[in-house]
């Protein structure tokens, strides 16, 4: 039982990242009709916003300490972050420790601007082109962004730890009445799951309960009619593109303590998230979220030793097997609209 609960938690955690990326992907498809293969790169750039913030906060001045020697036998250079110099050691250290959550302040404007620039500068020129052209151009853009990040930050993963207070594990077994040490789960992963719920809830609330969201939903249903009513739907869709980029970026920021960011992490998630969107139904926001969590959970159960002993290698293919089954039996996906991508 405890093993099942653990894998369920794992699945929800994996599914959080899939759902957040897939939510943005499907939001863009639903509004602009574009299959955006650069969306994984948004996740990656979000993660590198956390790296950038960490580096900014760690900007230091250096003094030579003649009492200590470095590895070459020269007087050691001792670096002190300006933050600690300005705010005192304790406060400065606390700010440095919380650099990942603080990065959200940087990531939101950066991602929104990047999304808007991407949409206005490149993607809008491909609205009337075939999906294949859109995929090619956005995939190319993803590679360009990835290589730029590689040039600036290098190819190696960069550690970005969670705040010390949230870096440990919780003994959920003891909390839920099971034996101690049976369900031990990292605190940050639980926070990531809760964070994803907040973001997903926020996006849905924004679309459901604001005038802006209502217009966007109307535009998704019938773009032409909304335009005829004198509403500049293009501008709203551009903003939605920025919002989708910000959602992916936030998913990336908060993911950095789980896996050290590297330039390739967007591509690692892109294909899976695209499968999530297809399984959930192209253009269906609830479908993307539901499929994200569903596939995350199934992937997690596929990694259980008992399951792998039964079907070796299942952990590697389970998501694609599910995708094949769904596409064969229900081509529009679990919650897709009739007629969308059903051919």
């Amino acid at each position: 039982m405890d093993a099942i609960i653990l894998q369920m938690l794992n699945g929800l955690d994996k599914g959080s990242a899939y759902a957040l990326i897939a939510l943005g992907l499907t939001l863009i498809f639903g509004t602009l009709g574009v299959v955006n293969f650069a969306h994984g790169a948004m996740f990656m750039i979000g993660a590198f916003c956390a790296v950038t913030m960490q580096r900014l906060l760690h900007l230091s001045f250096t003094v030579l300490d003649p009492t200590k020697k470095d590895f070459l036998g020269n007087p050691m250079k001792v670096s002190t972050p300006y933050i600690e110099h300005w705010f005192g050691k304790a406060t400065g250290a606390a700010i440095l420790d919380w650099s990942v959550p603080i990065s959200i302040l940087l990531a939101v404007p950066v991602m929104v601007i990047l999304g808007v620039v991407m949409e206005r500068g490149l993607i809008k020129h491909f609205y009337k082109r075939a999906h294949a052209d859109q995929i090619l151009v956005t995939f190319g853009l993803a590679i360009v962004l990835q290589e730029i990040v590689k040039q600036v930050f290098g190819a190696n993963p960069i550690p970005t730890p969670a705040p010390h207070a949230l870096a440990g594990a919780l003994d959920l077994g003891a909390m839920l009445g099971f034996a101690a040490n049976t369900i031990v789960y990292p605190a940050w992963r639980l926070i990531y799951f809760l964070f994803s719920l907040v973001i997903i809830g926020g996006v849905f609330a924004f679309l459901q309960f604001t005038t802006f969201g209502m217009v966007v939903r109307a535009g998704m249903a019938d773009r032409e009619t909304v335009g005829l009513l004198g509403i500049n739907i293009d501008r709203r869709f551009t903003i939605m593109f920025g919002l989708a980029a910000a959602v992916a970026g936030l998913a990336g920021v908060m993911y950095t303590p789980i896996n050290s960011p590297n330039y390739h992490m967007g591509m690692d998630f892109l294909v899976l998230s695209f499968v999530v969107v297809v399984v959930g139904g192209m253009g269906s926001l609830p479908g993307a979220v539901a499929a994200g969590f569903l596939l995350g959970i199934l992937e997690s159960f596929g990694s259980m030793n008992a399951v792998k002993d039964l079907i070796p290698g299942i952990d590697q293919i389970i998501i694609y097997v599910i995708a094949i089954v769904v596409l064969l039996t229900r081509p529009r996906g679990l919650m897709g609209r009739r007629g969308v991508m059903e051919d």
Partner: protein
């Protein structure tokens, strides 16, 4: 009166004979090449094929720096590094046999097909005489095999699988780095003394040649110490999130987790294992322990504070106090501002050893180089007295048992050398069960 008998047929005949005559020396010249890529000009080219992307990119970047430094020293630039401490004194900083050394680089991407394509291009387009590099044993085995077929020398960089000089060994290939068996032999007694004899261990293993042989070696040596294996779970090399594999560990009854992971894989799996609270848990009345059989300084840097107290083994460490190590650390440190990793040291040493073998053999012919390296004993390159065993082309030297530094004094002070296991304790016969099945075959000069 002069009669000219020009006919079309006659002209063709004469022309053909003349063309054949002119071509004759060229044919003889080309046939005169005794081996692949025999150098004709004033330079010879080495190929450095390293992972510049993928999970082992850290090691690849460091390997490349070391290769560049070695070439500089061979060509007489810089401070000479280990040339002054090397027991062989034939390298004088004037290049190789009167030629300057140049090099080309490639990105293996930690993928065998990409690595082979890159090596093939180096051999066919850049006319390299020797290829070095590694960081993935799968890649090393594949490139070694290609070099054997092409008649090129392969001086393996960082490759730790038993198979590289075991079942997949080749006459044209040589490995300076230690192997998984040696890690197990060095770590077994140390771990038993640190954590006791009554332990149950759970292994996560990278699912390719290195992981398999590392896991088999650890299982064998730890069971000899009385430990019991709970299970060995294979994880894909491309995996970045190990949570599904780590989640069942604590409740499995195991009280030790052995991570047969390297590079980015290990950084992620160790970080996530610590996030799962495995470093401070009490299981079976004992403190839960994590072991990383193969540790490098670069991985320690990537893992940050999580590496503190974690034991493992290393081929070399920059904090060793022998003359060769000191010379190399000075040279590398001045050039790049950081101490070298074990990956850098093995690649630097391999390049010097190849250059030394060429100079002693007075030939670039791969078969002469093979002859010069087989059974070669040397010292002064940071690992103490070392033997390149002729039977399998494996170097035998002391092995370091290291632990993650709990109180680092600076950002490079990441690993402590806990013990130097003498070579006698990690030596094995060429037909040892972990290495049997391979055949060096014949030297191939190519051409």
């Amino acid at each position: 009166m002069i009669k000219r008998d020009f006919t079309r047929r006659g002209l063709l005949k004469t022309g053909s004979v003349a063309a054949a005559g002119l071509a004759l020396p060229t044919i003889f010249t080309s046939r005169a090449s005794a081996f692949t890529n025999e150098p004709k000009g004033s330079t010879v080219t080495f190929g450095f094929n390293v992972p510049q992307s993928g999970p082992y990119a850290d090691e690849g970047a460091d390997e490349l720096k070391a290769f560049q430094l070695a070439v500089k020293h061979i060509n007489g630039e810089g401070d000479g590094g280990m040339l002054s401490t090397f027991s062989s004194k034939v390298l004088d900083g004037t290049g190789l046999l009167g030629k300057k050394v140049a090099f080309v680089t490639g990105d293996t991407q930690t993928k065998t097909d990409a690595a082979r394509a890159s090596a093939k291009s180096m051999i066919e387009k850049d006319n390299v005489l020797m290829i070095s590099g590694g960081s993935s044993s799968g890649v090393a085995v594949a490139v070694q095999s290609l070099c054997q077929e092409a008649g090129i020398i392969f001086m393996a960089g960082l490759t730790h699988s038993n198979d590289t000089t075991g079942k997949d060994k080749k006459r044209n290939g040589f490995r300076h780095f230690f192997d998984a068996y040696m890690s197990g032999a060095a770590l077994g007694p140390v771990l038993a003394s640190m954590y006791g004899k009554d332990r149950k261990f759970y292994m996560l293993t990278a699912d390719y040649t290195w992981g398999w042989t590392q896991a088999a070696s650890m299982k064998s040596f730890m069971e000899k110490e009385g430990w019991q294996m709970v299970t060995d779970v294979r994880t894909p090399l491309a995996a970045t999130d190990f949570s599904s594999y780590l989640a069942p560990v604590i409740s499995s009854g195991a009280d030790v987790l052995i991570l047969n992971h390297y590079g980015g894989n290990m950084v992620n799996s160790l970080t996530q294992a610590v996030q799962f609270g495995m470093k401070d848990k009490q299981v079976n009345g004992k403190t839960f322990e994590i072991v990383v059989p193969l540790i490098s300084e670069l991985m320690a840097k990537g893992a940050g504070k999580n590496i503190a107290g974690i034991p493992g083994s290393s081929n070399w460490n920059w904090k060793l106090q022998d003359a060769g190590t000191k010379a190399f650390v000075q040279s590398y440190g001045k050039e790049y501002g950081v101490p070298p990793s074990q990956a850098a040291q093995t690649c630097y040493v391999q390049t010097l050893l190849y250059a030394d073998a060429v100079t002693r053999a007075k030939s670039f012919n791969p078969c002469s180089v093979v002859e010069a390296l087989e059974g070669y004993k040397f010292d002064g390159l940071g690992n103490g007295p070392t033997l390149y065993r002729a039977a399998d082309h494996q170097c035998f030297k002391d092995v370091l048992v290291v632990t993650g530094n709990e109180k680092p004094e600076n950002e490079y002070d990441l690993l402590n050398v806990a013990q130097i296991t003498p070579v006698e304790k990690v030596m094995y016969e060429p037909d040892n069960e972990f290495f049997k099945g391979g055949d060096l075959g014949q030297c191939n000069p190519g051409a």
